[in-house]
Symmetry: C2
Subunit: 326 residues, 2 copies
Amino acid sequence: MPNIKDVAKKAGVGIATVSRVINDSGYVKKETREKIEKVIKEISYVPNEIARSMTRQRNDIVAFILPNSTHLFFGELLYFVEEELYKYGYKVMICNSSEKIEKEIVYLDMLKNNRVDAVILLTNNDIDQYLDKKLPLLSFDRRFDGVPFVASDNYEGGVLAAKRLIEQGCKKMMFIGDDAQGDSTPVMTEVTKRRLGFLDYIKEKGYPEMINIEYPLGDYIHIPENIHKIINEHPEIDGIFTISDAVACDVIKELENNGRRVPEDVKVIGFDGGRSFLNLGKKITSIGQSPKLIAEAIRRSIINFYKKEEIENQIIPVYFQEGETA
Amino acid sequence: MPNIKDVAKKAGVGIATVSRVINDSGYVKKETREKIEKVIKEISYVPNEIARSMTRQRNDIVAFILPNSTHLFFGELLYFVEEELYKYGYKVMICNSSEKIEKEIVYLDMLKNNRVDAVILLTNNDIDQYLDKKLPLLSFDRRFDGVPFVASDNYEGGVLAAKRLIEQGCKKMMFIGDDAQGDSTPVMTEVTKRRLGFLDYIKEKGYPEMINIEYPLGDYIHIPENIHKIINEHPEIDGIFTISDAVACDVIKELENNGRRVPEDVKVIGFDGGRSFLNLGKKITSIGQSPKLIAEAIRRSIINFYKKEEIENQIIPVYFQEGETA
DNA sequence: TTGTAAGCGTTATCAC
DNA sequence: GTGATAACGCTTACAA
């Protein structure tokens, strides 16, 4: 592959002048510029971005560490993050952790070697001690000391769900979510606030009998078998709020398999927006979070890393999504 | 950030020796190695991968150009591709094209600048003329002259669908798919073979009355309104094979909205495997393709680029996925 | 075993 | 306006 020297030689100029033309920086006489441009075309020269990164000491790559791209919400978030950053000249490296802390650690290391311009971190793992806080790190739905974050307004989401269930006449509520947001781990994510908002509002309105179910975090999609049992042991429950649409789906199937109608007997609200491109049944009533707004916020923070401005945490609004299960 | 010189100076050795330690190459006396390792820890030196790419003339980055990561099948494929390549030390750059050829072209250019080690291309666009065939390019479900490819056994998928519908007693068949695989574009993708396999088998078995519907490629999820009309104009049809599960879902809803029961009155088979993590209704009967097997094949081809071996095209088996709609 | 020095392909700083 | 030349941080002959 031809390099800048080849261009310079063939055009009979110095490499500095070629560089000026490529980057459109500094003064270059019109004829010189044209000659150089011609040569570039002729030998189909393409500037080597690696060498460029070398001198500029940055490479316009942002890495996104997330559990996977198969869960719809993650896939959407990834999509919009890429779209946003693309507009600003960044490329996105995808780092699936499969929820495994080991893989997150390896990636964090690797990314340090690669001198990526920023790392977006989406995880439920107890990874604080492995974070190099001097790096341009941004987290989503999670607080780490010294790391700026973007999060959905999870608390408000919980409140919205509670309001809806109460409006619909529910008396005995249940919350179902994984314990990555619970008291049993050192991890405290912003997602916990879905439960808190829900709980607070229900208490405030005088419905004290809430049943709170937490289970070990698995694949984000299925809930453990024993949780099904607990659900069935509580026929008095008439309103359920779940940590995600995936869990809501699982719960609704379990209820219906056991002869309880949704929403007639039990109302169920999920979280994420109730979207699915492949659903032949009823639409889940849900609290929606907007991957597009979140991606814009993430992009804003990342751009600010390079403006050396103070990076402010950002809370993104959620909304109530009408459906057929509550 | 400290560099290799800092390490060398502090350890009182030459930079070549440090390099040998880092890369575990060549002979280094045990004590020297230990001293160097100690210094590396002390000043928390991290080798600069950009500089490394510079001399090695490769960067272990593979780019994946695909329409999006929100369509479940794409999200899954992306996930497994990343997983496979990660095992072999590659990082994956995600390039969402949103099906737009302009964005594909920009990415193709950008990737040339970035000297990525390989580009995986998944597209339905007429982009042949923009491909630099000298680059390490690999395509999925699509043939380009001079570009190796990996594809699902789409033809066999069509045959499997036809067999099933015939077994289930269907007499009048219909195929519904976008025209990116049709005769109206210069593009001929491997996906066309879903239709061909279906058609051939049905003809072979003496069911000549197949209705073939093609529509302009949109978002991979919804079909145009006028197609709904066509479906309803054919009450005699009792077996439908669609280009994807997403289309099958759309079609089934349309049929049911118009009082035709699935699978009692009309049987419908989709393509992709009928997976969905959020489905409260019946499961779609489908022809499955395995993103994991495909990802492995892709990884194999990419590794071979660097073994300078002949890259063979690979056809990946599909399977019949039992469901409730056929 | 180890160190020196020549690349790798740019950008940026100076002179001219 | 333009051209040498010194970085940037590493790998790898080649010499010692």
